[in-house]
Symmetry: C2
Subunit: 424 residues, 2 copies
């Protein structure tokens, strides 16, 4: 019966079977120390027999577990037999068992199949899996329904630019930039509270450490809100649940990446400033007058929040109307009930209250010089009674990146897609 390496310490002096990959071999002639890796950890195997096993081969090892203070984890396997289940062929293009900081981002991504075998790199995605769990669990606890909507759309609610065309039988459709249309439809259908974990596509030519052309969007939409303030409250509750959950199940991973998970108190302290106030702060800190918040501005604002409020995050709200999509609920004609959340120097959320009245929406469409005909299906949502509502989306990869302090968002995507990369 196989046991996991993490359970070795509970099985001292017993004969057990371990399954896993050969992580490293140290052959001292008379004695060999072999590190074996499985999904739960790494253990030392000790043998005085000569083995012709190479690193990354998959093996079944049997033997007796012994306590040994010098061994990693304080326990080692006195090897009795080892069977190769799958032999690793040839030389590895990158070493799996080295410190991943020695690898370039290009090498990590080009050899993704192999680089993911490095436990530290793989741990990024263990943590990401836990984020998905805590996100969904929190929303279900607030009576949200999980939805799955189509990613193949006739036209975009956000305009036609930035969309990837798909040849769909004899016609052209597009990959959805967001589930905006559908999550609003579901709120209006009477579900009131929905969330979706789904892919989003942006055909933008950016190639920066903060952009992906395909990413996972954690989308939330909620009926019967008053303003974007309710949405910021909700996002704070979600983030507290995620962070508290991660402290329990991913604390070791965050520590290994030399990062820290914000506390619930820190989340409570996230300041809320208007877009005008944000520009003032950035102008004052940078010493030059700014008219919008660029990536440098996002960093400045988070540093300001850290210094002034003890929390490396800030909500910016009341964005000007010209900076938000046509469906954003206006205040006093030139502002909107919208917000961004900046976390550790990066925008990880955009959201806001949406226009829910048909006539107001028609006016907004005209103001933005869009054509109501192209939005016929979208308008249907509002014709027949749509409650006041709003929502937001958190970028999964950006959140993962910032929790672990990774320099590039691509490190937080298993198989990232950028302008040049479509493989592996």
């Amino acid at each position: 019966m196989r046991i996991l390496i993490k359970d070795a310490v509970k099985n001292l002096d017993k004969e057990v079977t371990l399954l896993g990959w050969i992580h490293r071999i140290r052959d001292l002639g008379k004695i060999s120390f072999i590190l074996l890796r499985d999904r739960s950890g790494i253990i030392q195997l000790v043998t005085d027999k000569i083995t012709d096993i190479n690193t990354e081969s998959v093996v079944k090892a049997t033997g007796t577990l012994r306590s040994n203070e010098k061994a990693p984890g304080g326990v080692e396997l006195d090897l009795k037999g080892i069977e190769v289940l799958a032999k690793a062929h040839g030389d590895l293009p990158i070493a799996v068992n080295q410190d991943p900081s020695k690898l370039s981002l290009e090498a990590v991504l080009d050899h993704r199949i192999l680089s993911l075998r490095n436990p530290k790199i793989r741990s990024i995605f263990t943590l990401q899996s836990n984020i998905l769990k805590h996100f969904a669990t929190h929303l279900r606890s607030e009576d949200f329904t999980e939805i799955k909507t189509s990613k193949l759309i006739g036209t975009g609610t956000e305009g036609g630019t930035g969309l990837f065309p798909v040849q769909y039988f004899d016609r052209k459709v597009y990959l959805a930039q967001s589930p905006q249309f559908y999550k609003q439809a579901m709120v209006a259908s009477g579900m009131e509270r929905v969330f979706e974990i789904g892919d989003a596509y942006r055909a933008e030519k950016h190639d920066t450490p903060r952009h992906l052309n395909e990413y996972v969007s954690l989308d939330v939409e909620m009926a019967f809100i008053e303003s974007e303030q309710d949405l910021m409250d909700l996002e704070q509750r979600i983030l507290k649940s995620i962070f508290e959950g991660l402290k329990k199940d991913s604390g070791e991973i965050v520590k290994e990446w030399n990062s820290a998970i914000p506390s619930g108190e820190e989340v409570d302290k996230i300041p809320r400033i208007t877009h005008d106030e944000a520009k003032e702060i950035v102008s004052s800190v940078s010493g030059k007058r700014v008219f919008e918040i660029n990536p440098e501005g996002e960093r400045i604002l988070c540093e300001w929040a850290e210094k002034e409020h003890g929390c490396n995050a800030v909500f910016v709200y009341a964005f000007p109307r010209r900076k938000r999509p046509f469906y954003t609920f206006p205040i006093e004609n030139h502002k909107t009930m919208s917000f961004d959340l900046l976390f550790r120097g990066l925008e990880i959320t955009t959201g806001g209250r949406r226009i829910n009245e048909y006539d107001m929406l028609i006016q907004s469409i005209e103001r933005f010089h869009l054509k109501p005909e192209g939005l016929a299906d979208y308008l249907e949502i509002f014709k027949y009674g749509c409650p006041p509502h709003g929502g937001f989306a958190i970028g999964l990869e950006r959140l993962t990146q910032k929790i672990l302090g990774l320099p590039n968002v691509k490190e937080a995507s298993l198989f990232p897609r950028d302008r040049k990369r479509v493989r592996p």
Copy 2:
């Protein structure tokens, strides 16, 4: 403070606020009965004032809750004030408050935004959300990691046919038919056990009650298995968890659809028959010699299992090699370690052990007349030690359909895509 309609009975004789949609109005001249609908249920409002509210408008209603045996749910709201939050415009193209069986499938899907307001239609997706929860919860309990992989691929592991092309900047890529390549890569990376809830795309020209061109695939992949028997064991454990979970949180929905959730004992009884045995049974029942299991054969096999084993489901395994993809693990040259699960007359799962040895895979690629060059990234997984493994996928919409007894799988997709339909 708003209360949900389901909590009305706990607030008798109190003044409360309700929010929701006008479901139906019965104006008796001196007195009006108005049905109000929110995400949790329907309640009767009683008023002697004339109201000019129309159905589907969104309102805020205040008043005192009174016990009334004749009212639906035994409680009604003595209306004090009603405020329209969003007026429904004009005539509804389909009635929301009627029995949905009176609507054609075309009408339901063409007017999806409105048909989803019907509580019975919407309930399909409440149940679907619960399936997602139970699926993920079960797999996490067995130490599986949730992954999110790219849907934009350079080439298909399953060959180039049946793929939708995407214009990706200056090159062509394809929408993934399944996360096959990636989930195997993640198993080999050392995660050992992964699952993915993701979109899958099939550019097949079918237009049948069992096909969708875009669907949600519940994918599972697991290392260190012996054969497909381990995978069938796992699927039975997953289905038991889903069904037991649904009994608790979706029992009412299943009842309203006149269906029933299989018991844990029924799942335990699912018989396992070889593809050869399956052909024998279908030939014998239908009275004509069959050489493959078509949809009619799937129905016959499930009826057979119901009669012989008391369970409307059957595993068919040991499929011939020519019927399975090149990566399926062979037995005795002409058979494979693969299986299907048929449930209530429909295939809802395909799975199997995969070839994990590099040399065996190269041989299989040649046997299937494929080119190793086109599979270079895929082959990389097996070059450096890949454990014995396998997996399967459950179609979310098909599972939903069969649990509720829906005639067409499109009813179980919020915004289905077929050859002709790409909207709403």
